[in-house]
Amino acid sequence: MRMRWCCPAFGALAIFAGAAIAGAVVPIAITDLVFSPAEITVKVGDTVEWTNNDFVDHTATATDGEWDVAIPSGKSAMQQMAKAGTITYFCRVHPGMTGKIHVVSG
């Protein structure tokens, strides 16, 4: 009985996960405490993927508080850009690290 409930729920999650990366995935590398490229333009619905090549953890934290993405050392993390506008972001641990994302309507 438990399985019958479990499987549809899992299916729904999979659909959500699929929807979350429906747009393009745009990569940003973090190397030696620099976001590269530091400035990008994406479309609404695209997902930005940061890859942390450093041996310390970083974050990508939107200045307006919209999102706060933890990017552990050696790992990648993603954030979908939900609405048009220009977002500046920084690393909370090393605030000198900054980046800018222009999100334009598709």
């Binding site: 030696d32 405490l33 041996f55 310390v56 953890d57 909370r92 641990v93 090393h94």
Partner: protein, 177 residues
């Protein structure tokens, strides 16, 4: 306040000593084994300071900063240990490391008498001062004096990380009441 100043002056003097009185090579600058020891000691001191903050502080922002300091400095020191092992270098204790440790013990004793907002302010102010001093020592003495390329590169990355800590600490100091 007088204590704070005297400790910072002592710390600056200790790190200046690394430049002026390193006993080792012809130029009077510290050797790579001494630089490795000084850099490791400086990191270990900040980890101890952060652990003290995590024991005493109840402020979420201060605790988050202290968590960051433990994690980052541990990561840098782990890298440093792996590098000296790879290079077959034995870090060498020296007067600068000893002076740094002594200053840090005095500072921890001073902070242990505080609690609440008074502790938070003293800890964050000291983090600002400490990172300023260490960053300056890295930039003006330890990096230029290091002869091994990999050690120099690690110190340069360390400097970027610690400059980030300084900005973080300064932000915390400016926003905490």
């Amino acid at each position: 306040m007088l204590h704070t100043h005297s400790n910072i002056l002592g710390l600056a003097a200790a790190l200046a000593f690394a430049c002026a009185a390193g006993p080792a090579n012809a130029g009077g600058n510290p050797t790579d084994p001494q630089i490795a020891h000084i850099a490791y000691t400086a990191g270990a001191i900040d980890i101890e300071a952060a652990k003290q903050a995590l024991k005493i502080s109840k402020d979420a922002n201060v605790r988050a900063f202290a968590d960051d300091m433990v994690r980052d400095h541990q990561a840098v020191n782990d890298k440093a240990l792996a590098l000296v092992k790879k290079l077959n270098v034995t870090p060498e204790d020296n007067d600068t490391s000893k002076a740094l440790t002594k200053q840090a013990e005095a500072k921890r004793a001073e902070l242990s008498k505080l609690s609440g907002a008074a502790f938070d302010k003293a800890y964050v102010d000291n983090e600002v001062a400490y990172h300023k001093t260490v960053d300056n020592a890295l930039e003006t003495t330890l990096i230029p004096s290091s002869s091994n390329g990999e050690l120099k590169a690690l110190l340069q990355t360390g400097l970027k990380i610690f400059e980030g800590h300084l900005q973080h600490a300064e932000h915390l100091a400016s926003t905490s009441k």
